[in-house]
């Protein structure tokens, strides 16, 4: 195998949020379908939560790409922390109303009430845990008008889970949890990802044993897996350049190199 294959394989696992890189897994597909169905329902707000690296951002990007062709969808991957700026951005994107000065909640609500939109626009807010509680409460009030539908993603940590429950449990909202992949899902994820980029030889290197090793290190976290495999193919590329691959072998992924990449990425503290 030439070093270009390892470089290509390495680039597959670059930590980027691109809907084209979305890998369809059975369980993930089911969740995604349920999310799409929820958007069709007359729900005010949909909560998508899960641990970091479980694919929330990817889900949101994928949903945006899929819905943008059929309805008005706006995605905000980076939180707009300033309240006035947040209202001004929404007024411009959804209602095409430019506002030069400060825009407060009352002024924005007047714009919403005077609007004549044919369909309910969908606003996708990523990293919603960064919004202040006051703003989150105002977002809830906006959604109560049923003029804008919000899909928000939250990191689910122990503390954040409690906050999420306190904020949203009393409201009639759909909440979908994303989880880490299982070992089998991880194997499919890696191989599908590599095969999408035509790296078939690299995909064949991942046997059950090597994927189990990766699963033990990453615990099925997609982001950690991407990081690990990026480092792994980086090391493969380096070994290939220094012509040391013969001592390691290329038929299957070397456990030594997996451990080395885990050390490099900080998954193993050595």
């Amino acid at each position: 195998m030439s070093s270009s294959i390892y470089i290509n394989s390495k680039n597959v696992f670059l930590d980027t949020v691109n809907s084209k890189d979305y890998v369809q897994l059975d369980r993930v597909s089911t969740i995604y379908q349920s999310l799409k169905d929820s958007i069709k329902k007359p729900l005010k707000m949909i909560l998508l939560y899960g641990k970091p690296g479980t694919g929330k951002s990817m889900f949101l990007t994928k949903l945006y790409n899929d819905l943008s062709s059929s309805q008005v969808v706006h995605i905000y991957e980076t939180p707009i922390l300033d309240e006035s700026e947040f209202y001004k951005t929404l007024a411009q994107d959804i209602f095409s109303t430019k506002y030069s000065g400060e825009l407060n909640f009352t002024q924005f609500m007047k714009i919403v009430e005077n609007s004549e939109l044919g369909s309910i626009p969908v606003v996708l807010l990523d990293e919603a845990q960064l919004y202040s509680d006051v703003l989150m409460e105002k977002i809830r009030l906006i959604s109560d008008t049923r003029t804008i539908k919000f899909v928000i993603t939250l990191h689910k940590t122990e503390k954040e889970d409690l906050i999420a429950k306190e904020h949203f449990q009393t409201r009639i909202w759909e909440s979908i949890e994303l989880e880490n992949a299982s070992s089998a899902e991880l194997k499919i994820y890696i191989q599908k990802k590599l095969m999408k980029a035509n790296c078939f030889d690299s995909a064949n290197m991942f046997t059950g044993k090597s994927v189990n090793k990766i699963y033990k290190l990453t615990n099925g976290n997609y982001r950690d897996t991407n990081k690990l495999l990026y480092a792994l193919f980086d090391i493969y590329s380096a070994y290939d350049d220094s012509q040391q691959l013969s001592s390691i072998g290329t038929t299957q992924v070397s456990n030594k190199l997996i451990e080395m990449s885990a050390i490099h990425t900080g998954l193993i503290n050595a």
């Binding site: 480092a231 980086d234 090391i235 380096a238 040391q244 030594k256 080395m260 050390i263 193993i268 050595a270």
Partner: protein, 276 residues
Amino acid sequence: MLNTRDLEERWLRYKIKSYIPHVIITISSLVIIAIISIFLNSGDKIEKTIVVNEKKVEQEIKQKIEPAPIKQKIVQVEKVIEEEPVKEKPIVLSKSTISSNDASLKLTPSLDFMKKMQHSSLPYYQEETQQQANLYNNSTNSAQVVEEVQDLDIEESVQASTMEEAPKTVTISRRNTKDDIRHIIKRFKKNNNPALSLFIAKKYYELGEYHKAYNYALITNEIDREIDASWIIFAKSLVKLNQKEMAIKTLKKYIENSHSSSAKILLEEIVSGKFK
């Protein structure tokens, strides 16, 4: 570009670290197993050693008890004993041959020590003397050996005769006693010592010649009337010569004069009939 060397070093340290607990666990488990096995086997070994020791003891006892080696020893001893007379034969032959050749030679060294050794020693030592004799035979002076062998034969015959006539030694002693009495009578006639006459009387009394004992006791009394033993022998001889009343009268008279306790005891024994 990754620094793979650094990564490999870090990986090696990581592997060593990760193996340490495994190594510790395996070593500790091996040690525990070894201790347990030693503990368990110790009892068995003790039993085995006891059994082995018992077996050894039994074998030793058997070996000691087994008659085979003893028989062998006996056979060996017998062989040694049998061999000895066989070895004597060539000496005898040499005696005949050599003695006929050197009959004129009569000068012989003193071999009394050899005779003494042969008297006291077992046939085993005779072998040595025979070997020495052979040495002499091999040397120029063969006549000496001849004489020695002759001496051996004589002594053997003497030993045999003494062994056969062992009961006759009693008669010889009697003869010696009578000779002694004669010798003492000669001495008594020379110095007229009452002790000697009393000794003669006692000896005659022991020999059963009571009349002579009576006479010599009377002679002793005539020389010395105060010798207690002469009166007792005199009385005893009278009793033996059927002169019991005479003996009693004599003792009574003597007791009146001397108050001898031994005379009194004898008088009582004669009167009661204990002494006959």
